[in-house]
């Protein structure tokens, strides 16, 4: 089931695991954040930088960044667009969608028969519902005949939003 996009599983060193636990809630807000982490862990700053760089290179860390609350910055409307795509054309459709610039996340997920015929999921964000609808209609055009049906599930409330929370002592 794994696509060519998947890479093999990385094995995390004990230092990497500790860095992951220590930064789950965020990076220390300090001019030298990695020195702060190094002091907390009793290692050198260089060791922390090397480990984080390796984690970024292997994709364990996507990037070190700010995650805005999209509601607060004006993107009050987020629609989870879901598409029923001809399985043979799914990879091509997903790649086209991802490259369109209209969506944030884009994944193939299992359809569940008539109850849920959709196998391609893509998040669309907008400052108004009309804007989201406009983007969805452009996606519909982009997907052409490969798409049979689609729907958009608007979020009406954030019930929980935290970063990754791993249990205190893992592995």
């Amino acid at each position: 089931m794994c696509s060519s996009i998947c890479r093999s599983e990385s094995v995390l060193s004990p230092l990497m695991q500790r860095l992951m636990q220590l930064t789950q809630q965020g990076l220390p807000l300090h001019e030298k954040p990695y020195l702060q982490l190094a002091r907390q862990l009793g290692v050198s700053e260089q060791e922390v930088l090397d480990s984080l760089q390796q984690m970024q290179d292997s994709g364990v860390i996507r990037r070190i960044a700010l995650v805005p609350n999209h509601y607060a910055i004006g993107y009050r409307f987020n629609g989870m667009s879901v598409w029923e795509i001809d399985p043979q054309q799914l990879s091509a459709a997903g790649a086209r969608l991802a490259a369109s610039g209209y969506v944030s996340h884009c994944y193939q997920r299992p359809a569940k028969g008539e109850q849920w015929p959709y196998n391609l999921f893509a998040m669309v964000h907008g400052t108004s519902r009309e804007q989201v609808e406009e983007l969805v209609s452009r996606i519909r055009t982009l997907l052409g005949d490969s798409c049979h049906r689609h729907d958009v599930l608007y979020s009406s409330q954030i019930l929980k939003k935290t970063g990754l929370r791993l249990a205190g002592t893992s592995q």
Partner: protein, 157 residues
């Protein structure tokens, strides 16, 4: 009013530039704010003060490494369930109480609750879903990622 706080913060040019720039990632180096400060003609101290402000008022939810847990041997999955309206808050509390639940959204659909599970081991997913079904009485539909099409989330302000 919280919205007014956001609007005030977003009316500031440096804040907008920071929110845009910081979404795209910082370099892994000893003083990651230095280069950014030069770029935006400010100082690392000001940048840190602004980030603190964004986090304190809820304009940003997090600042730090964004982990992709699958690459470290863990598993993320999307789960949907239908909850009767009169039990919605109760079930939301049951679901949110699990530390494995990273995000949970109410959506306008018959499947009205959608959440992301992040587990350290792929085999934990089934176990957590089973426990949630028992605790909530709701059927949990699991939508694991079968293929990812890479896009970076970037919301300019």
């Amino acid at each position: 009013m919280v919205t007014e706080t956001y609007q005030t913060l977003l009316s500031d040019e440096l804040n907008r530039a920071l929110i845009n720039r910081l979404q795209q990632g910082l370099p892994v180096c000893s003083e990651p704010f230095q280069q950014l400060a030069e770029e935006l003609q400010t100082t690392p101290a000001v940048i840190l003060e602004r980030i603190t402000q964004f986090l304190d008022c809820g304009l940003a939810t997090r600042f730090g490494p964004m982990f992709q847990i699958e690459r470290a041997g863990g598993a993320f999955t999307l789960v949907a369930t239908h909850v009767d309206e009169h039990r919605f808050d109760e079930v939301a509390a049951i679901v949110n109480a699990r530390h494995e639940v990273a995000h949970n959204y109410r959506r306008e659909h018959w499947l009205n609750m959608w959440f992301v599970l992040a587990c350290e081991q792929p085999q934990q997913v089934a176990c957590v879903l089973d426990e949630l079904e028992k605790a909530s009485g709701c059927e949990m539909l699991n939508f694991p990622k079968e293929q990812e099409f890479y896009v970076q989330l970037y919301l300019p302000v």
